[in-house]
Structure formats: structure tokens, C-alpha cells
């Protein structure tokens, strides 16, 4: 019996020897390149730009924190910030609203699938069209809202022309598609609820609100998390609706940071890129609080796996 002599394999190429280590980076390279150039690097460029005075054409002039100092005294900025807060808080109503509609539709009657898709409809159409539709809905001369108010002897109400009402009017328009989105998240979530637990809870005499609060909602946690994430992002990204419905008016009372930034940097009132960047940085920092929270939650989940 001869002992098998393991012949050393012919030397493989460098790539072959390091295939497992190198391949992921080759696969990642294009995505990372694109993402770096168009997303990651521009974030830092904006931070840098916020320290300059620049009209977008000539040479940029370094002015330190002057843009931020100006922000502190800027009433329009203050209004935008408050409106952003209103958006953040009121937009969250989409979550209970979506849950409510999902519970309403979570049945097995004839045609329910079609009902579900039709309820979801507002989310699929562009915000531009939603904005247009709601502008007409609020119209003081012929809008449906005032027709309906008229039935109760109220109105007419010029929602979009009233500085105190306008932001709420636009948020209501935004809630329409957002509620539809949350609804679909909860409908899928409800499908995954464990029927045995419901039966067990029923035997223990739980029903209605108590059942919902103690048995159903805890099981819907993943859906609630995603609903929260997309709603917060949606609230801070609100731009289209404001641009279409009021263009920031009346008297700038419906501006939010994202709109005000655009206006400062690119509107016909002169290009103030540096000042716009400073506004964007503030918006980014608000978002960063949430991003940190989202990533932290995801990190926890990853560790559990």
C-alpha cells in the first residue's frame, strides 16, 4: 500500500486564490460608485457649501457661520420649521387611520380584493395630481368641501387662502395617499397574525378594544415600524403638494424647510445656494435623529438573527 502523495496543485491565479474575498467588492463596485458620487459626497458638499455665499455662477465667498446666524433671525425660516413640526405630528395620523381602514377591510366577502386595491388607489397616483385634486376640493367657489359645508349651512371656507388653515389643508391632502400606504402595510400584517393566539384570547374572554390593544397590535409591530419609517420620511419630504397647491403661500405661511430651501436656492428671487444649503443642513439634522433611530432598530434586529 502506498501513501498517496498530495501533489501541490499548480499555482492558481491571484484572483482564483482570493475569489471569495474579492468577488463581493467587484459586485459592489458599481453601486458604491454611483451612490458615493450622487448621494454620499453631495451631503458633505452641502455641509461645506453652507459656509459660503454663492450665487451659483461666480466665485463662492467663505463667510463662516454667517448663513446660520441669518437663519436664527429669519422669520420665514421660523414659520417653515413650525410647519415641519405640524407635518411630522399630524402626518402620523396616517398610521391609526391606515390601521382603521385595514381592520374595516380585513374580511372575506365577495369583491373584497377589488375594494382593497381601490382603497389603495390614492397612493399610486402622483402627488402632483393629488395636489391638483385637493386644490379643487377646497376651492371656495365650486369645491366639494364647500358644497358639503353648505348642506349644514356653513362656509364658504377658503382653506388654501387662509394663513391659519392652509398648512392643515395641505397635510390633509397628504394624509390621503399616506393613509392608503399604511393601510396596505397593516393589511399584509393582519394576514400574518397568529389565529391560535386570537382563539386563545377569545376563550379568555378578550374582545373588541382589549383584543386589539393587547393581542393584535403587539403582533403588528413590524408593520407599525415600517409605517412609522415611511410616514416620517414622507412628512419631511413634503414638497410636491406645497409647490402645486399654494407655492408656499399665502404670504409664505405654508412653507416647510424643504420648500423654503428650494425657493432660496433656485427661485427667481436670486440664487442663494449657500443659504439654501444651510437650510438643507438643518433639515438633514432633523432627519438624522430619525435615521439614527431606524438604523439602531435594524441593527438590533440583525444581531438577533
Amino acid at each position: 500500500m502506498t501513501t498517496a502523495v498530495v501533489m501541490p496543485k499548480p499555482r492558481r491565479s491571484w484572483y482564483k486564490r482570493n475569489e471569495i474575498a474579492v468577488t463581493p467588492w467587484l459586485f459592489l463596485a458599481p453601486a458604491i460608485l454611483f451612490f458615493m458620487v450622487y448621494v454620499i459626497i453631495p451631503i458633505f458638499q452641502s455641509f461645506n457649501l453652507s459656509l459660503y455665499r454663492w450665487d451659483g455662477l461666480g466665485a463662492a465667498e467663505y463667510i463662516g457661520m454667517a448663513n446660520y446666524e441669518e437663519l436664527l433671525a429669519d422669520r420665514a425660516f421660523e414659520t417653515s420649521l413650525w410647519n415641519n413640526l405640524k407635518w411630522l405630528l399630524l402626518y402620523l395620523l396616517a398610521i391609526p387611520g391606515g390601521l382603521f381602514i385595514a381592520l374595516l377591510l380585513n374580511q372575506t366577502v365577495a369583491g373584497i380584493r377589488l375594494y382593497k386595491s381601490l382603497f389603495f388607489f390614492p397612493f399610486v397616483i402622483s402627488q402632483i395630481v393629488v395636489g391638483l385634486v385637493f386644490t379643487w376640493f377646497y376651492d371656495p367657489t365650486f369645491g366639494l368641501l364647500n358644497v358639503m359645508l353648505g348642506w349644514f349651512g356653513l362656509g364658504p371656507l377658503n382653506v388654501l387662502g387662509d394663513p391659519d388653515l392652509v398648512t392643515y389643508g395641505i397635510i390633509a391632502a397628504g394624509l390621503w395617499p399616506q393613509t392608503a400606504y399604511c393601510m396596505i402595510l397593516y393589511l399584509t400584517g393582519l394576514n400574518a397574525v397568529d389565529p391560535e393566539q386570537i382563539e386563545a384570547a377569545r376563550l379568555d374572554g378578550a374582545k373588541g378594544w382589549r383584543m386589539l390593544w393587547y393581542v393584535i397590535i403587539p403582533q403588528l409591530k413590524p408593520a407599525t415600524f415600517i409605517a412609522f419609517v415611511v410616514t416620517i420620511i414622507g412628512a419631511l419630504r413634503s414638497f410636491d403638494l406645497i409647490s402645486i397647491m399654494t407655492n408656499g403661500g399665502p404670504f409664505g405661511s405654508s412653507r416647510v424647510l424643504s420648500f423654503y430651501m428650494f425657493e432660496k436656492a433656485l427661485s427667481e428671487y436670486g440664487f442663494r445656494m449657500g443659504y439654501g444649503a444651510a437650510i438643507a443642513v438643518v433639515l438633514f439634522l432633523i432627519m438624522l435623529v430619525f435615521i439614527a433611530y431606524f438604523l439602531f432598530s435594524m441593527y438590533q434586529e440583525e444581531k438577533e438573527r
Binding site: 386570537i198 386589539l212 420620511i233
Partner: protein, 282 residues
Amino acid sequence: MFPTPIEKTSRTWQISYQALLPLTLLMWLAPLLAVALFSVKPEVDFVSGGYWSMPSYFAGAENYGRVFFDSDMPRYLMNSVFITIPTVIGCIILSSMAGFALGIYKFRSNIWVFFMFVAGNFVPFQILMVPVRDLTLDLGLYNTKTGLVLFHIAFQTGFCTLFMRNFIRALPYPLIEAARVEGVAEWRIFWFVVIPLMKPAIAALSVLIFTFIWNDYFWAVVLTQGVESQPVTAGITSFNAQYRAAYHLMSAGSIVAALPPVLMFFLMQKHFIAGLTLGAVK
């Protein structure tokens, strides 16, 4: 199942539920139905102030005809198509590769690269606006569809990579190991083992990205102007400026602009919903 299945409840509640359902739906879609009604009314109805009356005659063909043959709408629609389709293809290619790398391989910075994509995806657009606009100007791509497409691909890659990576994580890993034992090259594993299994994810992302990009307005305004390259969302605003107070035409135009994603949704509903829930809610 919660709430209690309707067939197990009292007869009266069953009947009222069945009656309530269409009513709620009508109220929910009322603003849209109003636009649909406006779009088939003739101009005289609006002049005479009969906004909410039945159309005095059916003017649908006339209104939609003017949108299609008498305005820039078809060009804007084509622009949207030529912006949306390449973006979808680009995103799918980049993100399936990145998702494969992050989902299959274990290396130290894996989670950080992944978090970079996730975090970037949440960023407010405005912080990117000025630098991206400058970059596009420098590349000579301002006011071109290509400029818009390149940015959209880059930005959507964040979300798509998140989605693809989670999907690939859920695939049976022994399959890949078996292929490796057989000595299959890594790129062949990607192409012949993983890609065929990713079809549902690709379908879900395609419909979703199609809708997102079709409906984008902000970047369309920042990176393009004019009828040569603007998509339909931006086009509809100039269309509306042109036909200010011509409610019948504005309605018809809006419906035309909104229709493609709606069709997409109805045709590929299952995939669409799988995409929206990020594959996380089963």
C-alpha cells in the same frame, strides 16, 4: 382572524357592512371621481357654473383628444417613459449585484456598507440638490433625460439594495454552498443560481421603482426644464398654466398623467404590495 369574520356576526351587521363598504369607498375616492367627472364635461358646463351637474353632453372624446393631439402632453409622456424605463433597468442591475454581495458574503465591513445604502436612502432630497445640480451641469447633462436617469439610478439603488439584500438573505444558503463545492465560479453562482431565484424580487422592485420615478416631481424641476426633457409630472404644471381655469382639459390631462402607474399597479398588484412592505411583513 381579527376582527371577527363577518359571516359569524348577526344578520343586521352583515347587511349593514355590505351596504357601508361601497359608501365608504365612494367617499374615499370622491376627489378622484370629481376629476373623472370634470374630464368628460364640455366647456360650456363650467362657463355656466354647472360644476357639479351631470355633463350636458359627453365630451370625453373631445377633451382627451385635445390633450393628445393639441398639446405637448404626448411628448411629456414619452419623456417620462424614456426616463423611467432606463432607471428601472439600471437600478435592478446595480442593486441585484450589490444585494448579492451583501447577502451572501461575510466580510467585516458588510453591515456598514449595507447601512450606508439604507441611511442614504432616507436622506432629504434638499441636502443633495445643489451639489447634484452642479455635478449635472458640469457633466453637460443639465436638461437632459440622461442626467435625470443617472441621478435616479444612484438614489434608488439605496432602497433597492436594501430590498434585494434582505431577499437574498432569505434564500436557502446551502444551495450556494453546494454550488461552491462543485467548483462553480462565484459570478456563475450569481448568474445561474441566485438570479433565477430573484425573479419575484426583481418584479416587485420594477413596479415600485416605475411608480416612484414616474411620479417624481422634485428632481424633474431641479434637473430639467422645457418640453425636450421634462417628464409628465413637471409637464402637467406647464400644461395647467397654459389651460388655467380650463377645468375639463386640466382634469383630462391629470388623468392621462396618472394613468400609467395605476395600470402598472393593477396588472402587478401582488408584486407591488410585496415591494411596498419591503418584504419584511410577510
